[in-house]
């Protein structure tokens, strides 16, 4: 598109219309600022990632790693290679190093960090310990602070390393033997992004230690890579070429090449995130387009006479169009540049916030705009502004020269509903609906493409809704207005009635204002409902697999074995139930029994637990699974029932070798695991000396929704308490930590998506304010007439407030309804295969109500300034001609 020329008169017009263009300008600034911030953040992340990976290479200019030589043989590096490189001209340091994942243990705790044998040589940037020193002898290790924390160890203490030795037995079957060696912790190293990229943490040992580990495990003992530092004046590329010449077959990379190779996966992730965030920025700009179209439509309508006069004195249609588009282009350019400034400031603030929380990341203190972060938002902003101004510009060209001579007519209220619009709206809805249904059917039958088809269908129905909004939004606004008018007492009702009428006088403007909000709110509520539904459905899966928060003394998990479980010592029970985070606990008696099922020749040996119905229901995450428990009834886990062919309601006979027996009725429930559950009385009848074999623990409820680290800590605390009670190994299991982590992942995702969409919603709210203030300007004389006839200032402000609430409310309520529907369908199609059909629609009512309240408040707020301006003018001033 060729941009229209920007002339001096365009500048003048822009200045004259500045007030009316403010909202449109703000909308563009927000949208382009968002895009600029995203692009800048992407750049900062990439550069930081590069920097930290090169840090991990300890300042080496070139890295040599094993490769494949010309004959196709593996070309390993050895000490001779290191010496050969060291002797090369221009090489300052040549350091052979190896890094590996090591399984470190300290009591019940374990971690799996990368450990390397980077030597402390002059010229290499070996990490400087925060505490203690670097390892100097065999059996010494320095750990990064995060690893030391996880292992609860410190300088001067010991940790174990588990090495796996493969042995081949007589039959030729390989088996693994675990060899544990003790290491002295001699230093604590600073943590860093690089180590987080590589794994969960890092550690340093000497080359001697590393070689020892490799010997035990039967691995090559040579170095994994050579870190080569160049002499001053030798470029990395030059050095690479020299090294390649002496070590053919190896892979020689400069630090930058190595960094790129290492972080390519990370950067792919960053790029995907950037693409998603840019998608949201595009959406924000799209919504800004609605605000711009509205603005220019009003400007053109108000300038009808002036434009007609221009035509009268000889301006062509093209000149009129260029005049309007020129103004739009200039507005778009100025607002986009302001947006880039805003985005840069935001990115700098974000970088400062992140570095104050994570100082080791070494983010820049000032983020400078890059060419990309300037060009893309400015281009997008100008294109959107000009594009959005095209329909009003076309309207401007249709102004007849004679219009200058006619009195200004009232707006034409009766707009014929275009048949094309009806057909398009219905068509999109129908096709989208069919695809949606088809996609859902596909995904419930386990087809992974079902979700894609359903998503495309949902998108089409949304397009249908947007096209058809013109038929829906105005009636909603006026209907809701009339309803609201009945609820408002006294002469406030008149103000709301006027608002209801005003809401439909310009259906297109009303619709596009509400539609802008509709887009944002639909997406926000789709995300909210989708997340809540996914969460509810998957948490139910968790609860089905894990009956209690923490279980001591045996696994209740679905895969637990049938071994005899030992009695739990009283000291263990006391220690576990005494942990601070434990809200409630109950010991269960347990035994084994031979279970005879009617019609089956052989009895099955199964484990039986005893707990009272009240306590069982109190501790269980899913009380329903123990609902039928009573004297004379045995609760049978669903999976077990399937396996052993036990039917609900069958009479089972439970006997013990050498003694007791009891007949009970089977109640099959979703109880997880493989243990039958009886009441303690029935269990006593079966086995009078049944010991306590299990402790069920209910953790503090706040842990389920709080920081997962606390839930992890709570489970660890139980584990520590049990191991300190010191009666051999006791199994402690609990899904509390996993459950909380999972919940946090979804909550974080929800928060991020909502935050990204917030910009879109904000722009839409600016659009509501824009429409209201343009209406005020447009209705100056009408407001004056009403004031003369007895409309009070309060009523006039009330009219605008009601209009704001009705506009915002219509968009929000429609958006919530649509979004809830989409969110639920989305979760249903994604989870269809996972949860065998049962997707719990979970409406996060609190959150959705918050959205409605926010919209009403935003509508009210948006009306404040226009209302004040409208009420300020004296009735006579506006009537005077």
């Amino acid at each position: 598109m060729i941009l229209p020329p920007i002339s001096a008169t365009t500048w003048a017009r822009l200045r004259a219309d500045a007030g009316r263009l403010t909202a449109a300008g703000i909308a563009i600034v927000l949208g382009t600022g968002f895009a600029a911030a995203v692009l800048l953040a992407n750049g900062v992340l990439e550069r930081t990632a590069y920097a930290s990976v090169t840090t991990d290479l300890a300042g080496a200019d070139v890295v040599v790693i094993s490769g494949v030589d010309q004959t196709g043989e593996d070309r390993e590096i050895d000490a001779a290679d290191a010496r050969a490189v060291a002797d090369l001209d221009g090489v300052a340091v040549s350091a052979p190093t190896t890094s590996t994942y090591a399984s470190l243990v300290n009591g019940a705790r374990s971690d799996f960090p990368t450990v390397s044998d980077l030597p402390a040589l002059p010229g290499l940037r070996t990490p400087v310990p925060d505490e203690g020193r670097l390892p100097t002898g065999a059996g010494e290790i320095a750990l990064s602070s995060s690893v030391a924390d996880r292992l609860r160890t410190a300088v001067g203490e010991q940790v174990g390393v588990e090495l796996y030795r493969e042995t081949i037995d007589a039959a030729g079957e390989p088996s693994f033997e675990v060899v544990e060696q003790q290491l002295d912790v001699v230093g604590v190293l600073p943590g860093g992004l690089a180590s987080q990229l590589a794994s969960s943490g890092s550690g340093l040992v000497t080359a001697e230690t590393m070689a020892g580990w490799n010997r035990v495990q039967g691995l090559p003992t040579g170095p994994e890579q050579l870190l080569v530092v160049a002499d001053d004046g030798v470029s990395p590329d030059e050095l690479r070429d020299r090294v390649t010449a002496v070590l053919p077959g190896t892979s020689v990379l400069t630090a930058d090449e190595k960094a790129e190779e290492t972080i390519v996966e990370f950067l792919d992730g960053v790029d995907i995130l950037t693409a998603v965030a840019l998608g949201f920025a595009a959406l924000a700009l799209f919504v800004a387009g609605f605000v711009i179209t509205n603005t220019f439509a009003v400007l053109v309508a108000q300038r009808t006479r002036q434009l007609a006069l221009l035509r009268c004195v000889g301006a062509t249609r093209g000149q009129v169009r260029r005049e309007v588009l020129g103004q739009a282009a200039l507005l778009g350019l100025l607002a986009s540049l302001a947006g880039v400034v805003l985005g840069t400031v935001l990115a700098t603030i974000a970088a400062a916030l992140v570095s104050s929380a994570q100082p080791q990341l070494e983010l820049p203190s000032v983020v400078w705009p890059t060419a990309l972060a300037v060009l893309v938002p400015v281009l997008a902003g100008v294109l959107v502004t000009v594009g959005a101004a095209i329909p009003p510009a076309r309207a401007a060209t249709r102004v007849a020269p004679l219009a200058a001579l006619r009195p200004v007519d009232g707006p034409d209220l009766r707009r014929r509903a275009s048949w094309l619009r009806v057909v398009l709206a219905v068509g999109f809805l129908a096709v989208g609906g069919v695809m949606l249904a088809f996609g859902l059917a596909l995904s419930s039958s386990g087809n992974v493409y079902g979700t894609l088809v359903a998503a495309a269908g949902a998108g089409l129905t949304f397009v249908g809704v947007m096209i058809g909004a013109l038929f829906v939004v105005p009636p909603i606004v006026s209907g809701a207005g009339r309803l609201l008018a009945r609820l408002v007492p006294g002469d406030g009702g008149a103000a709301v009635r006027l608002a209801a009428v005003n809401g439909v006088r310009n259906p297109r403007r009303t619709t596009s204002t509400a539609a802008a909000l509709l887009i944002g709110v639909t997406l926000v509520s789709t995300v909210a409902v989708g997340a809540a539904t996914t969460q509810a459905s998957l948490l139910r899966l968790f609860d089905q697999e894990w009956p209690v928060d923490v279980s001591v003394g045996g696994s209740d998990g679905a895969d637990y074995g049938t071994d005899v479980q030992p009695e739990l010592a009283a000291s263990v029970l006391a220690a576990a139930s005494g942990v601070a985070q434990v809200a409630d606990s109950e010991p269960l008696v347990g035994t084994r029994a031979l279970v005879s099922v009617p019609g089956q020749p052989e009895a099955t040996d199964l484990q039986v637990l005893g707990i009272t119905p009240e306590r069982g229901r109190a501790l269980s995450s899913n009380p329903l699974v123990l609902e039928p428990l009573a004297d004379g009834t045995v609760v049978v886990p669903g999976s077990l029932a399937q396996q052993v062919a036990i039917q609900d309601g069958q009479t089972l006979r439970l006997t013990r070798e050498g003694g007791g027996g009891i007949e009970v009725t089977a109640a099959v429930t979703d109880l997880p695991g493989r243990g039958l559950v009886l009441t303690p009385d029935d269990l006593q009848t079966l086995d009078p000396r049944a010991p306590v074999t299990r402790l069920w623990i209910d953790l503090d409820d706040s842990l389920a929704t709080g920081d997962p680290a606390e839930a992890v800590a709570a489970v660890d605390a139980v584990r520590d308490a049990v191991s300190e009670a010191g009666v051999g190994a006791v199994l402690v299991e609990g899904a509390a930590a996993e459950r909380a982590t999972f919940q946090q992942v979804i909550d974080t995702l929800l928060g991020v998506l909502t935050g990204l969409l917030a910009v879109t919603v904000l722009i839409a709210v600016v659009g509501v304010a824009n429409t209201l203030s343009l209406s005020v300007v447009e209705r100056t004389r009408e407001s004056a007439l009403l004031r003369a006839l007895g409309l009070t200032r309060r009523q006039l402000r009330g009219t605008l407030a009601a209009e704001g609430v009705l506009l915002a409310g219509a968009g929000t309520v429609l958006g919530l309804a649509l979004g809830s529907f989409y969110g639920w369908l989305g979760a249903a199609s994604v989870l269809g295969a996972v949860t065998d059909g049962g997707v719990l629609l979970d409406l996060p009512v609190g959150r959705l109500l918050l959205v409605v309240l926010g919209a009403v408040a935003a509508g009210l707020l948006a009306s404040v300034l226009p209302g004040r301006r409208a009420a300020r003018s004296a009735p006579v001033a506006a009537l005077a001609e």
Binding site: V501, A788, G790, L791, R794, E881
Partner: protein
Amino acid sequence: MRTSPPPVSPSPAALSARGLTKTYGRGEAAVTALRGVDVDIASGAFTAVMGPSGSGKSTLLHCLAGLDTVTSGSVWLGGTELTSLTDHELTLLRRKRIGFVFQAFNLLPMLTAEQNVLLPLDLAGRRSTRHDGSDPRTDGTLAHLAETLGIADRMTHRPSELSGGQQQRVAIARALVTRPEVVVADEPTGNLDSHAGAEVLALLRQRVSEFGETVVMVTHDPVAASYADRVLLMADGVVAGELTSPTAEQVLAATAGSVVGAAR
């Protein structure tokens, strides 16, 4: 509080002004539109205010009707002193006690004729009535009004579907529906052709003669003024003269040259 004495007038005055002064702007840019006007608008009579552009006739009307603030002086509507009222009190007073007919843009485009007529009552609330407690929607006076104004069959139409004369008649119905103490008309025929204008004026005349309404009208048209019982002649912000039941020729003579032909 102003201390002007209540007006002492021979006939019961619907509207009175004493020492009315109105200045726009400040300092050198200040324009004085009214210079101490004393006037009484008789109840049950049709009063016209005439004068050339800038004579202050519209300003006088706006001040009398509580649409504009005054710089000094006092305005009385019945027993109420308008200049001491707050904006809110003035608004309620206009709503209940004064009827308005303007030159143009009299009606709200999105309301039907009937809704426009009932607007002053509706502004007070859905179930509001006139100040005497009667309700035109139920006591038949709305229908009667529409009938006598010749708009009974246009009441469900919107303004864009009405002719200029019909729109003005709807505006008159609106001005009368609350049974106001005074109807204020600002150039009511300014935008109409002579035939429609004559109809509107005849209707106003009829309301005064047959129903005893009080009408005060600003006009620059001698023919329009000739419908009035009394014509006040404004010049340079003061009432410069008056005529009683004049003919158009008499009005024309009184304002010779200064009004006729002047752009409004």
